[in-house]
Symmetry: C2
Subunit: 198 residues, 2 copies
DNA sequence: CCTCCAATGTTGGCATTGCCTACATAAGAT
DNA sequence: ATCTTATGTAGGCAATGCCAACATTGGAGG
């Protein structure tokens, strides 16, 4: 007859929301957003097919939660990478490399971030601090300017330009449209290309 | 009784492949690739649900055909835009603006181009000339270099860097993550941002 | 301690979709 | 005229998102 714990767990899972988030994130990272199925999550967690709807009104809502996790992780990577450097410009380059590494290493998640599903997360209100991966870039650019780098120009605009550059490189790297030289990691190759202009 | 033409057309449509492509393209442009359904196409064309499979083995194969159309159109826009300028650098800037305009105007199609579905189109063999939107950029960069612009540097690498920059701007513009100043078109706004660095 | 209720989970069902197998028809070559 | 092949049809299967109705549980208030 099963022990008491699993009896209790059988009906009320107890932590379904978090379990859904964890599993969904791993599914997306492993196979992309189109491979995410609420029914599959439910059955994998030993729960009925409609149980997830008690925690997320629909599939897109779950996706949006994952997107938030993704932005938070990306922001963290950027903060850590720049924290390891003292010179402002070195910090900026480190952020660029960290960004590319994140995009290549977790490409399915990265693609989801720009899939358009979470647009309203950022356009509506001021972007929540914990998931704002852009602000650290603007700050770092401002630091660089204070140190004499491209002193003319609005830091916000400069940051947008740099973001566009690095994001574009990340996408091209992920997409694999451009063959990478033998024995070279894609994010290294693309970091090198960025130096061409930046 | 119906006229003879529709009688004939009732069974053998006569031009189903092209009709599928046309309608699929318009559906994708209007609502994105996730809105593309073979069954919907079939019924809209007054044909049975499995008829499309006589022309495309599966949904992805149809998507790939659309991707080819998209790249060809983008290439054409680039060629036309640079053809209107004489000075090499002016031509390069015109290509950038045309690229951004294409991405914004046909954003759903543009997104499909980078969705990863058509990867093998470009990585395998040498990219077919008619759909190669990258080669014109390399050529233009070479022209610019011949005219004294950034004479040091491999044109291929420079072109990749420029492509990354413009593609990144295009994606950010489409995504709408960055609010565009009132009364300004997104592609103008982003073209301005590109000038910040390029 | 008991009761009720809100949170959480289940069952059954509907519509849509991709795609498979078998079958039907038309159009053109032999 | 016949036969082959390209093309289209019918039926079906499994998966999915989501809705409505019902069940269970644990905790708040009497």
């Amino acid at each position: 007859m099963g022990d008491r714990d699993s009896d209790r767990a059988n009906y009320h899972h107890g932590n379904l929301r978090q379990a859904l988030l964890d599993l969904a994130l791993s599914r997306v990272e492993a196979a992309g957003l189109e491979a995410l199925s609420l029914r599959d999550l439910a059955s994998s967690l030993g729960v009925s097919k409609t149980a997830p709807y008690r925690h997320f009104p629909d599939r897109n809502s779950l996706l949006r939660a994952i997107i938030e996790l993704g932005w938070a992780d990306l922001r963290t990577d950027l903060l850590v990478s720049r924290g390891r450097e003292t010179a402002p410009e070195a910090g900026l380059r480190a952020m660029g490399r960290a960004y590319l590494a994140f995009a290549v290493r977790r490409s399915n998640l990265y693609r989801l971030l720009f899939s358009g599903q979470g647009k309203e997360l950022f356009t509506e209100a001021p972007c929540p601090k914990e998931i704002d991966a852009f602000a650290p870039l603007v700050e770092q650019i401002a630091l660089c300017q204070a140190a004499g780098w491209r002193t003319s120009g609005d830091p916000q605009m400069l940051a947008l330009s740099v973001w566009a550059q690095v994001h574009g490189a990340a996408e091209l790297a992920i997409e694999g449209l451009v063959p990478v030289p033998e024995g070279m990691e894609p994010h290294e190759f693309w970091a090198g290309i960025l130096e061409t202009i930046l």
